[in-house]
């Protein structure tokens, strides 16, 4: 069975360039997969760690919304709530510590006051040294390893904490591993008993209460009970699943897109393997025929091809792990730089590494099956044929792509990031399926498209164009395979470009829709409405309106929301906001009279509120406010992490404690922008405001989006790179196959340069046809990516720039890929070509 394996090895070494390129192609595909897995893992580990650090083993967390914290009454209410088994309060505040020997201040630390008995039941705090703290006896503290190292403390050292109360000398009894329990404290945390912390800060409130529910009780029931009891202070309630979900919500899209790009790269890599092995089988069919004539069995022939594939797969996958590790850290750096998702250097298990390698090998072998099977169909008579002509029986069968597609898809689903939900998986599959359909249908378009894109070449090089085009249409499925890989890569780039452009357009339109101004003047301190700033700005000739806006946080039913204080009348006269429900004028005027709120559609849906619903807010010290939902708008002013709840200034200052505006939206009189802008900006600066045009604000938003999509585009380039390797292989093969033909052309008087040019023209046409198909597919895929999940939106502005770039890229990549085959062609020996073998 394995008798022919050494021959397979020889067949690989006989075409070193082809083998090398194929291995590189597999390596890039596997590398991309590995990088995607690693990045997803890095993101998930970061999310998991954040969740664990934040909540530990608690089932619920009630966090204070305001600085003074949750009152004793609230803590008592929590303890008394049915279903609450344990409620561990803690207090977290920052202060400066003095160095051990007295003397200079040594930077800020975070003081965490805990209940020494209850806290260990919800949070682990591994000690590297010393012992835990107790409430009784001498004041004692734990510090983090980092703080001990940075400030030179050890067990038994004394620490002086001074905040609101008397300076307090505390003895360090233990060192907590690493950076300690608080994320974002720069690793400098001092942990003391909560009673002690209250003394240090002369406070009574607690920052949060971590709750464990009674076994068998659902946290949801307890949540409901808590909501009805917690009426004294504003608070935010979170559960580990909530927290995880909110963290994951930001990462899901990112991970899904990354996974899809990896799947596409792998698919393109499989194209390459499939195409290369098909070519090799055609090229070796006479040899295989001879082997068959000499008595080789079909099984031996099968092994002959499969063992070659195995070598390619193993080498490619191994090289891919190296490539993937490098690529993975690049992507990781990209994720951190763009801030697209939380990320930490992933701890990769041997399993992840093995999965990537096995998938690479598996995909290679699946791609090899069809060529191998085709090789077994070669009969002994094949060896007697004079002409090597890819007969229809030996042509690469595009249908096999479906099998490869399904295999890669199945493998992709196995490795699908768990954070990216079913809808994302569906969307990616749909896009991925579209790419396949486009590839399978592309043979239909090759001939007509080649004729069209060949036109420019006709003018200059009629013969070259004719021969090149003919050679491309000779074996359409091979051309489709080669070009398909390129099209798929370019389609990804165009699709991502389309989505990016749409996202930017949406962001831009969003701001224009909700900001009643051409220019924004931002202040670093709240500007009170009583201050003369508004009046001063409005007095500038050419300025039409100036409206103050403040954004802030509010807590509603235990949920943190973004809110904005606005002057409703200004929005009314400037005709901003698109109302979906409620009367525009009533709602906006209602804001100014107080007691009303306007919600964005997404917020209303999330909270289950409608026009006429009442939102009940609790302030500190038993204050309460009811706001009636007066209107629902398509989009509202963007806040820190979502769209804002719009409230009037009366409620903002009276109840939510807002001192003044963060920014002013300024509208110029019609046609006066150019003449007024300079004067306005000078005036704004003299009032300590930072002016920025709406365009610039929009620019900052779209830049951030651009960076994330740029990362994706860069990754999609890898698919194009793999496709380029396929082009090199196919063109070289097509040159070798046409040795006789090229020999005749040379004997008839074609110079080496002319032959090379002909191959370049072939590549040029291939690249252009590939680009055209890729762009078409990419636009459809882009529409699909945007459409699925948000309702179909087929009509979007085509990303002209990216499309132009895709054409240029397709053309240039093909031309670059043609360099080697063209050189090969120009060096064909006429004599060898016309000799009978």
């Amino acid at each position: 069975m394995l008798a022919l394996v050494p021959l397979a090895w020889r067949s690989l070494t006989a075409r070193r360039v082809r083998t090398l390129l194929t291995v590189i192609g597999i390596a890039l595909g596997v590398g991309m997969l590995y990088a995607s897995l690693a990045t997803s893992l890095g993101i998930e580990q970061a999310v998991d760690r954040t969740v664990l650090e934040m909540i530990g083993r608690a089932d619920l967390r009630v966090a204070a919304f305001e600085e003074q914290g949750l009152s004793e009454a609230s803590v008592a209410a929590i303890r008394a709530t049915p279903g609450v088994a344990l409620a561990a309060p803690s207090l977290e505040r920052r202060l400066y510590v003095r160095r051990a020997g007295g003397g200079t201040a040594a930077g800020p630390v975070t003081v965490l006051g805990i209940d020494p008995v209850l806290n260990p039941q919800v949070h682990d705090m591994p000690l590297v040294n010393g012992s835990a703290i107790t409430s009784a006896g001498e004041p004692s503290a734990l510090i983090t390893e980092r703080l001990a190292r940075e400030d030179g403390y050890g067990i038994g050292s004394e620490l002086t904490l001074q905040a609101a109360g008397e300076p307090m000398k505390i003895k360090i009894v233990g060192i907590v591993a690493g950076d300690g329990p608080i994320n974002g404290a720069a690793g400098r945390t001092v942990i003391v008993a909560i009673g002690l912390a209250h003394k240090v800060f002369a406070a009574t409130g607690v920052t949060r209460v971590d709750i464990r529910v009674v076994d068998g009780t659902s946290p949801t029931t307890v949540t409901a009970a808590l909501t009805s009891r917690l009426t004294a202070d504003p608070y935010v309630l979170s559960t580990p699943p909530d927290l995880e979900a909110s963290l994951r919500a930001t990462t899901a899209d990112f991970q899904a897109t990354l996974a899809m790009i990896a799947a596409v790269s792998l698919f393109v890599g499989a194209f390459l393997v499939f195409n290369t092995l098909s070519l090799t089988v055609i090229e070796r069919s006479r040899e295989v025929g001879l082997l068959r004539a000499a008595g080789a069995t079909r099984l031996q022939v099968l092994w002959y091809v499969m063992s070659g594939a195995m070598v390619l797969g193993v080498l490619g996958s191994l090289l891919g792990l190296g490539t993937g590790a490098a690529l993975g850290s690049l992507v990781g750096m990209g994720v951190q730089a763009t801030g697209a998702a939380p990320y930490e250097q992933p701890r990769l298990s041997a399993e992840t590494v093995a999965i990537a390698a096995w998938i690479g090998l598996f995909v290679t072998l699946v791609a090899a099956l069809e060529p191998a099977w085709r090789a077994t169909r070669i009969t002994a008579i094949e060896s007697l044929r004079l002409r090597i002509d890819p007969g229809s029986a030996r042509r690469a069968r595009l249908r096999w792509l479906v099998v490869i597609f399904v295999s890669v898809g199945a493998v992709g689903l196995l490795a699908w990031p768990r954070a990216a939900g079913d809808l994302m998986a569906l969307r990616s599959l749909a896009v991925y399926g579209l790419l396949l359909v486009a590839t399978i249908l592309s043979p239909l378009f090759i001939a007509p498209l080649a004729r069209i894109v060949g036109l420019p070449f006709v003018v200059l090089m009629r013969l070259d164009e004719r021969l090149a085009r003919g050679s491309l249409s000779r074996d359409r499925s091979r051309t489709a395979l080669t070009m398909g890989a390129l099209s798929v890569g370019l389609a990804m780039i165009v699709a991502i470009g389309g989505v990016a452009q749409e996202a930017r357009a949406t962001a831009t339109a969003w701001l224009a829709n909700v900001i009643p101004g051409d220019e924004i003047a931002t202040s670093i301190r709240p500007v009170g409405l009583g201050e003369p700033v508004t009046v001063a700005l409005k007095a500038i000739p050419g300025v039409g309106s100036v409206t103050p806006i403040a954004t802030f946080d509010i807590a509603f039913r235990g949920v943190r929301l973004d809110a904005a204080a606005v002057v409703g009348a200004d929005f009314l006269s400037d005709n901003r906001l698109s109302f979906e429900e409620g009367s525009r004028s009533d709602a906006l005027n209602g804001l100014d009279t107080g007691g009303s709120a306007i919600l964005a559609r997404s917020t209303a849906d999330r909270l289950g509120l409608r026009v006429g619903s009442t939102m009940a807010f609790t302030g500190g010290a038993g204050k309460a406010l009811n706001l009636r939902v007066a209107g629902i708008v398509e989009r509202s002013i963007p806040g820190r992490s979502g769209e804002t709840v719009l409230v009037g200034w009366t409620d903002a200052t009276g109840f939510f404690g807002i001192d003044g505006a963060d920014f002013f939206a300024v509208r110029y009189l019609p046609g006066r922008q150019a003449s007024t802008q300079g004067a306005f900006e000078d005036a704004a600066r003299s009032l300590a405001l930072e002016p920025a045009t709406l365009n610039r604000v929009q620019g900052a938003v779209t830049d951030a989006l651009g960076r994330v999509f740029g990362l994706f585009d860069a990754l999609a380039l890898i698919a194009v790179l793999i496709a380029a390797l396929g082009i090199v292989n196919t063109l070289s093969m097509s040159v070798l196959e046409r040795v006789r033909e090229l020999g005749i052309l040379r004997a008839t008087g074609m110079t080496g340069r002319q032959v090379a040019r002909m191959v370049m023209v072939e590549a040029g046409i291939l690249g252009l046809v590939g680009s055209v198909i890729g762009i078409g597919t990419g636009l459809a895929a882009g529409a699909m990516m945007m459409g699925l999940g948000t309702g179909f939106r087929i009509a979007f502005e085509p990303p002209w720039l990216i499309m132009g770039l895709a054409v240029a890229l397709g053309f240039l990549v093909s031309m670059a890929a043609a360099y080697y085959p063209a050189r090969l062609a120009s060096r064909i020996s006429i004599i060898r070509a016309v000799q009978f073998e």
Binding site: R462, L467, M750, F836
Partner: protein, 250 residues
């Protein structure tokens, strides 16, 4: 008659790998304009090698070829290609045609390569003319795979002739054909030589084919072993040639 082709002390050493083969060991010859010369000899005697050197497809290890007044060994690869394009025509045993192109396009190929449009004016007439000569009227639009082997070879001859080259080289053009088709091809070559004064150099194993020639050069072991002058004969009778070959022990 003027000499159109001259070879002086041609040697060719092939060095495939470790071994080396003396394919030609000093060949000199002169071919006059309008002559029909046949090269015969046993397999491996160097006929094809000689033809390739004479036609500028390859460079000799030493010695000179002077074709239409130009010393081929002095030319660059591109210059040699251009000389080949304008002054020579080749017909090989196999694979003479580009499968993608039809008969007319295949014949017009040398013009295309030279950057001329073969569908216009004089070139168009010339193509029609050679199609006529090789008796392929009515098959202008056929692709090579729609032609018989003999017709394919005649297309190759037509293409070799269409540029009106100084000399036409044919390496066993009938080797792949049956008796009758072979004769048709030879008749076409003869017609070009006899009616139009085309110089022809034909490599063959077949005395029937060689009998069309004015002169037969017999090669052996890389040298011209003998020369048999037959003179121009309309009948192409093989008797005298076979008798001489028998004398030479071939």
């Amino acid at each position: 008659m003027p000499t159109i082709l001259q070879a002086r002390d041609l040697t060719k050493l092939y060095q495939p790998g470790m071994t080396s083969v003396d394919a030609l060991r000093g060949v000199s010859l002169d071919i006059q304009e309008g002559e029909f010369v046949a090269l015969m000899g046993p397999s491996g005697s160097g006929k094809s090698t000689l033809l390739q050197l004479l036609g500028g497809l390859d460079q000799p290890s030493s010695g000179d070829v002077i074709l239409a007044g130009q010393q081929i060994s002095r030319l660059s690869e591109d210059q040699a290609t251009r000389l080949r394009r304008s002054e020579t025509g080749f017909v090989f045993q196999f694979f003479n045609l580009i499968p993608l192109l039809d008969v007319t396009e295949n014949i017009g190929l040398p013009f295309r390569i030279a950057g001329q449009n073969p569908n216009k004016g004089e070139l168009k007439t010339r193509i029609a003319d050679v199609i006529d000569l090789v008796d392929l009227k009515g098959k202008e639009r056929h692709k090579p795979d729609q032609l018989s082997a003999g017709e394919q070879q005649r297309v190759a001859v037509a293409r070799a002739l269409v540029t009106r080259p100084a000399i036409l080289f044919a390496d066993e053009p009938t080797g792949n054909l049956d008796y009758h088709t072979g004769l048709e091809l030879l008749d076409a070559l003869w017609a070009s030589c006899h009616d139009r004064g085309q110089t022809v150099v034909l490599v063959t194993h077949d005395s029937k084919a060689a009998a069309y020639a004015d002169r037969v050069l017999v090669m052996n072991d890389g040298r011209i072993h003998d020369q048999i002058v037959l003179g121009r004969r309309e009948t192409h009778e093989t008797g005298p040639l076979i008798a001489r070959l028998a004398q030479l022990g071939l």
